[in-house]
Symmetry: D2
Subunit: 339 residues, 4 copies
């Protein structure tokens, strides 16, 4: 039997060797929780990367990262505007309702699972300013979006302006932030700053990009770190051997491994995209492809050992990862082109 050529997701990919090395190197005893020497470096490292002061708090999942960040912005009686296909709405098992103590997700439309001020205004302008209706407290966007689309710096700027005008916090779910940042090119600093724009908080994902179990909650108002740390502990997310999480993140920052890994995945996605032509449902701006494929066509691809998820009845989703084999990507692109 042939090993399947994996395009199911990047979320179960192997851990990058450099990350393994960093974790092993952290094996010596250190202070527990986040009192260790590695965790202590995070604020400074991310502040340098983003070019503005920030606090960085590790946590083991993107779900927790998003919720902890949103808790700095959203009261229990408020709401979070997000896209109706946002991960926090569709695939996080109600975590925002738990972490935000019953706050409401308010669902906007928007092309490519991206939000614009117009989309948001259409949702929230009709809300009466009275206690009978839940008022929005924050906006959450996903970079790259659930359809693999990236927000440009210009788009982020107008969203931030809108959020400020409406007194709403602006959070970015960056489960695939690296892929979004890698898309337009540039140095690590340029890429990170362009992809984050002026958001208030960012869940910077590393797990899908070669890490094992560490994401970073980035708080661009560092004074919010205290709240996040109390809430992290209260949520059972303060690991006593936290140094292994910090080690993962630092390994990803060292030599811009996060960006290199994302570039690799994105390049593989472009390789495949080249074979898709008109089949693409969305422009490929990160490492996900949504491709129109009939059931029969999908069957044919699976017959060639390509593994992937169906996306509704007429399409498939392909995801590349930091360790996608070039040959597999090339083969997939050709196989689709040949259908």
């Amino acid at each position: 039997m042939t090993t399947p050529r994996p395009f199911l997701s990047d979320n179960a990919a192997a851990v990058h060797p450099y990350v393994w090395d960093a974790m092993r190197a952290a094996d010596n005893a250190d202070n527990p929780y986040d009192g260790d020497t590695l965790s202590a470096q995070l604020d400074e490292r991310f502040s340098a990367l983003f070019g503005r002061e920030c606090a960085a708090v590790w946590v083991a999942t993107g779900t927790a990262a998003n919720c902890l960040a949103l808790a700095t912005m959203v009261q229990p009686h408020g709401g979070v505007v997000c896209h109706e296909e946002a991960h926090i709405e569709v695939d996080e098992g109600g975590a925002p309702g738990f972490y935000l103590h019953g706050a409401k997700l308010m669902l906007a439309g928007g092309e490519g699972a991206k939000l614009t001020p117009q989309d948001i205004a259409a949702l929230i302008d009709p809300i009466r300013d009275d206690v009978h209706q839940v008022q929005p407290h924050a906006i959450a966007i996903t970079q790259a979006s659930e359809y693999g689309r990236s927000y440009t710096p210009g788009e982020l700027a107008v969203l931030a302006e809108f959020a400020t005008a409406r007194r709403l916090g602006l959070h970015m779910d960056g489960a695939r932030f690296a892929n979004a940042a890698a898309f337009p090119g540039g140095t690590a600093q340029e890429a990170a700053r362009a992809a984050a724009g002026p958001v208030d908080s960012l869940a910077f994902g590393f797990i899908k990009n070669g890490g094992m179990s560490a994401e970073a909650v980035i708080l661009f108002d560092p004074q919010q770190a205290d709240l996040v740390k109390y809430r992290r502990k209260r949520a059972g997310h303060l690991q006593c051997k936290g140094r292994y999480l910090a080690a993962q993140i630092l390994a990803m920052l060292d030599d811009d491994l996060w960006l290199a890994n994302a570039r690799h995945a994105n390049a593989a996605a472009q390789e495949i995209a080249a074979g898709c032509g008109q089949r693409l449902l969305h422009p490929v701006e990160a490492n996900e492809l949504f491709v129109h494929l009939t059931p029969k066509e999908r069957e044919a691809l699976r017959g060639q050992d390509f593994a992937f998820y169906d996306w509704g009845d007429d399409a498939a989703r392909f995801v590349t990862a930091w360790n996608t084999e070039d040959a597999d990507a090339v083969a997939l692109g050709r196989a689709i082109a040949a259908l």
Copy 2:
């Protein structure tokens, strides 16, 4: 200046004289909370009315009544299917999120703000049966609906059958239950039983129908009363002079005052409807009318001292109450017809 002829809402109408009398009669000291002799009669009275054993728990608002009933059916990690225009979604300030500890409202479509098994299935069938997606635990319907529509016994039967098949609880928001029950006619017992159908719980509203501050949570599985009572206390809704709430409810049940009041309001609504013709956006099956009226037409009506709310740009909502003056209803019907 003329007194306005009020069709804004039934929610601020005066208290019925019999209700006042019953409250005054309850003035003598009795046991506090719900240990009084009046509260003790509720279970039996409602069991007789509905023809099946039930427990009845007073509470001061419909919002609390709905939420306490839903708490018997919905785990914090679950969801409640309701109409996208349901009161619990639109106008209760996020109360379900609070009382259900972050459970999610899952919004279905449906004509006239009513739900059918088809509407619900369209919403919940695509939900993957895995922990990443919130699973529905209950269905909440409104009788009469937010557009003044009533569920028939047949409609309720198929909804209950569907709920049972999907292992979902079935709750009825009956803020205007009396009006829905009065619509098809029959004795009080016939009307109550037909309007409630086989639901698991009912928030039986009295406040809009001549009461002051008492609704009844009806639990057709009386074993759930214990949970509701603990949660009522925990929500600060166990009033120490609860006998005044029980007195209101008993006054409404005595001589079927609840039904007589609702019939009066419904009759006034029909009177108005007779003048609306093709202007009606929804059939009038209770005491609310949604009427197509241009801004200029609305201005004309207000010039004749009719008070009402706009409903979007091209319509108005009129609500009748237990104390609507017949002459006012007649006048309004004629005024609309004359536009």
Copy 3:
């Protein structure tokens, strides 16, 4: 059979006739919820009474009043310092845990169910300033205390100073605030200001003092009113006929009825106290008496038709009310003295 002479509690006493009158006078339709003309007067009336600007929000129970006020001070991950015998800890069915989303009650000792800075410091000073331990966010005191003791202006001043120094909010549960205020004498303004001291919020109770179903949440930082109003709605406590609650409160404020009623109850308590001598477990500074009485003595009193609760094995609690008959109080005092 003789009617019992009631000293069980003040919480189920009849409603004062002036309150009934005010409620009936509010029967005419007005704006729903708290948009009515009566509710609109509360801020000004209480600001005048207390001599500093405040916002006043009605709510139907003391439990809800306390919790809504505390929600302005306490984050879900924080704690509220209160006496180990405080009503919010012992008798509110876990309501603070619900309203504060899991925040913790932190229990201090203190003579007569009163707190001092020393009591509180003994509790909170050992708390490590780290995320593993819940940090206090507020202090809640009860005026009069659960043992009928009153805080003096001097005691309140040092508590407030302590709270400020520790950056803690200071809330007062005033279920029997009127009785505490009436104790030292003075005009209504003098009494109210002395009894409230410099607290941040007060749950001003009227129900035990002749009202039916209305307490006032007093927020001495009026900017907090918005949060309380959103949370009140979310908790199902925004009654649509709120004018009847406002009417109760205004009736109590008119001609200082709240103070007259409390003085009456306090005087009755002093009458009884005069017969208790060394039997008193606590000084009588409001309208509650805790009296050492053997089971046999209690039996003897009950044989004379006095109704009251046992307090442990060797004592009884007697509570007077606005409508306690002078003759009953005199008779009770003599009966105890004669034991």
Copy 4:
């Protein structure tokens, strides 16, 4: 400078080499979340170990493990009886309040931080069976206790009998379960079964015993697994590369590594205890020692490079771990004896 000889805690110790090996071996892609082949083995492995059918769910911290287990037993309006020095009360940042949606921890006394039926009855018997007081829903004990004490099978049996009689769930916080199990000796199966007794759920700790980031929630009613899995996801604890957590746990079960590690730590503790004599505050039944030591004596020990925490003013806590050097333990025992 000399390397300190570490007796601060076992919670930051290095990861055992076999655990590292198992994690690396899990590097190949597998199904995400807990759909992998390793996670699939847990139920069977633990059922065999404990000799009764159970479900096992991995999670990254003991805090989350305890809370998720308790959520199967405790309604939001209920309470959990635990020792007043229990970790869930003192050191989990209010996590139970969060996970249990405001449920209350009810604090009992008990020698050595252990609970007996008598301790619990003294706490809960005075609770009135009414809605004003929070009712207990479960008991949580810690094995080994916060003072390093172990429950015997006999003690567990009477606790379970008591819990059943009172209709309370019985949960065991087993952060150092392995150390408690290792104390009396026996095979792995004998030790595990004796140490768990008939509890309903167990948070089986591996992190302090050589793991990195995986504890197991053991549910002896496997039907509760579903609830725990939904709640785990909702709490952001369902890691997408869950196979690395399962790998850690399986490595600990293989060849009874968990027991061997615990025996090593316990033996080191006994070695130290041998030098403590009358200084011991508690019998040493696991891997923690609480030793009477004056400030001067502690200074002397620190001068010899022993690292440990003060325990109040007159004592110190020493914790051994799976990797404690025998020579260090011997040296510490001698150093204390020589004071």
